[in-house]
Structures are given as structure tokens and as C-alpha cells.
């Protein structure tokens, strides 16, 4: 029986593999930028503001500035803190999902609609939690939370509308 010698098979060089993978969106970080440049300036503006909000949120979280405004600071309940951590993680997963959709330029509208509804659930339950736990006269935390969350929701809604307009125009062409 004839044995096949795998070492004798021609193998692509590193340069050839790099050349093959160059045009694949998964390995090309410029794809997000390319997709964004195809969209309207309002879409890009929404995305940039959303990213800036996320960045400032992370900075606020790690600097400890957000801690006094969280429900767990008023209730001293571990579950509140853990719930926030879990939602923080889900938030980043949602950003990752949105970025992947933009990177591949596929299903952007459905992905952001899904993110919008999850964010709405977080917003409603979070606001209700703050309303029920905040001490009398403490409105700053509630106002800040509501304004930030509503801004995120409005930006996402705008992003979805812009994507729908883009897809409609593309379809007409």
C-alpha cells in the first residue's frame, strides 16, 4: 500500500497566507471604518457618541465615580452590585455584537433592534430600582442615570432609523 508523505505536499508560505487573508473582513480591522464611511454622517455621529459614552462609562466605573450613584450604595444589597456587574458584561457583549455586525456589514438593523430592546429592559428595571431605593430628596443619581440611559436609547433608535433609510436607498438603486 502506498503511503502518502505529507511533508512532500506543497504548503503555502506565510506571505501567501497573509495575502489570502488580507481581503477577509474578519481579519481586517478597516472593515468597521469602511462600513461607517458607506453610511450617512448622522449614523457615524451616533456610533461615535455611543462609543464615547461607553468609554466615559468605563472610565467612571474604574475611577469609582459611578459607585456612589449606584443602587447598591443605597441598599447595601450584594445582589444589586452583582446585577450591575452582570449587566455591565452584557452591555459589552452587545457592543461587541454591534461592532461585529458593522464589521461584516450584515444584519446591522436587526442586531441594533435587539440591543435596543435589551437596553430598554435595563433602563426600565434600573430606573424603577433607583426610584424605589433612593432616599428622600436624592434626585441627582436618578436624573443622571435616566438622562444617560435615555441618550443611549435615543442614539440607538436614530442609528436604526439611519440604517433603515440606507437600506431602503440601496434597495431602490
Amino acid at each position: 500500500m502506498k503511503k502518502t508523505d505529507s511533508s512532500a505536499e506543497p504548503r503555502p508560505s506565510k506571505e501567501e497566507i497573509d495575502a489570502l487573508l488580507k481581503d477577509m473582513p474578519l481579519f481586517d480591522l478597516k472593515s468597521v471604518r469602511n462600513t461607517l464611511y458607506k453610511r450617512s454622517i448622522r449614523f457615524r455621529l451616533c456610533w461615535v457618541v455611543l462609543m464615547l459614552l461607553t468609554l466615559s462609562y468605563v472610565m467612571g466605573w474604574f475611577s469609582g465615580a459611578l459607585l456612589p450613584m449606584m443602587a447598591s450604595s443605597f441598599t447595601n444589597l450584594e445582589a444589586d452590585y452583582q446585577l450591575h456587574q452582570l449587566r455591565f458584561l452584557i452591555g459589552f457583549l452587545m457592543i461587541a455584537a454591534g461592532t461585529i455586525a458593522i464589521n461584516f456589514d450584515r444584519n446591522i438593523e436587526p442586531v441594533f433592534i435587539g440591543i435596543f430592546w435589551v437596553q430598554l429592559y435595563f433602563h426600565l428595571s434600573g430606573t424603577l430600582r433607583l426610584v424605589r431605593t433612593l432616599p428622600e430628596g436624592e434626585t441627582f443619581s436618578l436624573t443622571t442615570y435616566t438622562v444617560i440611559q435615555s441618550t443611549i436609547l435615543l442614539l440607538m433608535l436614530w442609528l436604526i432609523i439611519e440604517e433603515r433609510i440606507y437600506q431602503r436607498n440601496l434597495y431602490r438603486l
Binding site: T75, L77, A79, Q82, P110, I113, G114, Y121
Partner: protein, 129 residues
């Protein structure tokens, strides 16, 4: 298979609505602290509304022949997130009710999650075809 999965979803939604109606009306559950009680009450209220609204929107869209895939995807994602919240965090806060309805909800929940995920994927497949 799709019909069975849809039936599981409807069954679970009915059980949840029945259970939370019972909980909110009877006030018989025993969370660990007063703050935990408020947390579980608030989340229960929001969730039962999500189930009611989700079920109504799904039924209405199904009856009127509209596209269902996005509605189902959103409901699936929210259902999974609620499950993670319950499993990772709220398990320590919420009571374990001894009522048969609560047991039925706990038992059927994994089946519901699988069923709703299957229905969502199947719906995308059907509407793409």
C-alpha cells in the same frame, strides 16, 4: 417540531403569568430582606409585563401575517438575559416557592429557552426561504 416548540413557549408564558399574578396578589413569598423583597417585586412586575406584551405582540403579528423573526429574536435574547440574571444573581435573593406553579415554571424554563431559541432560528430560516 416547530409546533411543539411553539406550544412549549405558550405553555411557559401562561405559567409565568399565572405564577406572577399569584405572587403579586397573595404576597406569600419570603425574600431575605425588605430591600430584596422590593427588588424581586419590581423585577417580577417588569418581567410579567414583558411576557404579556411579548405574547400579545407575537400573537398579533402571527395572526396578521407580519414578519416574526425579529420579534422572536428580541424575545429570545431578553429571555436568556433574564435567565442569566436569575441564575447568576437573583438566586440568592429570590425565594424558592413551594407552590406547584413555581415548580412547574422552574422545570419548564430550560425547555422554554431551548424552544424559543429553536423557534427564532426556524423563523429566520422560513422567512429567508
Amino acid at each position: 417540531m416547530l409546533k411543539v416548540a411553539q406550544a412549549i413557549c405558550y405553555l411557559f408564558a401562561s405559567l409565568v403569568i399565572a405564577l406572577f399574578t399569584l405572587i403579586l396578589k397573595s404576597d406569600t413569598f419570603e425574600p431575605r430582606t425588605a430591600s430584596a423583597a422590593i427588588l424581586s417585586q419590581d423585577l417580577s412586575t417588569i418581567r410579567v409585563w414583558i411576557v404579556v406584551i411579548g405574547l400579545s405582540v407575537y400573537s398579533w403579528r402571527a395572526a396578521s401575517g407580519h414578519s416574526l423573526r425579529l420579534t422572536l429574536s428580541v424575545l429570545t435574547v431578553v429571555a436568556w438575559i433574564m435567565f442569566f440574571e436569575d441564575y447568576l444573581v437573583l438566586d440568592k435573593v429570590l425565594f424558592v416557592a413551594q407552590h406547584p406553579l413555581a415548580t412547574a415554571v422552574q422545570v419548564t424554563r430550560p425547555a422554554f429557552l431551548l424552544a424559543v431559541t429553536y423557534v427564532a432560528f426556524k423563523q429566520w430560516e422560513l422567512e429567508d426561504a
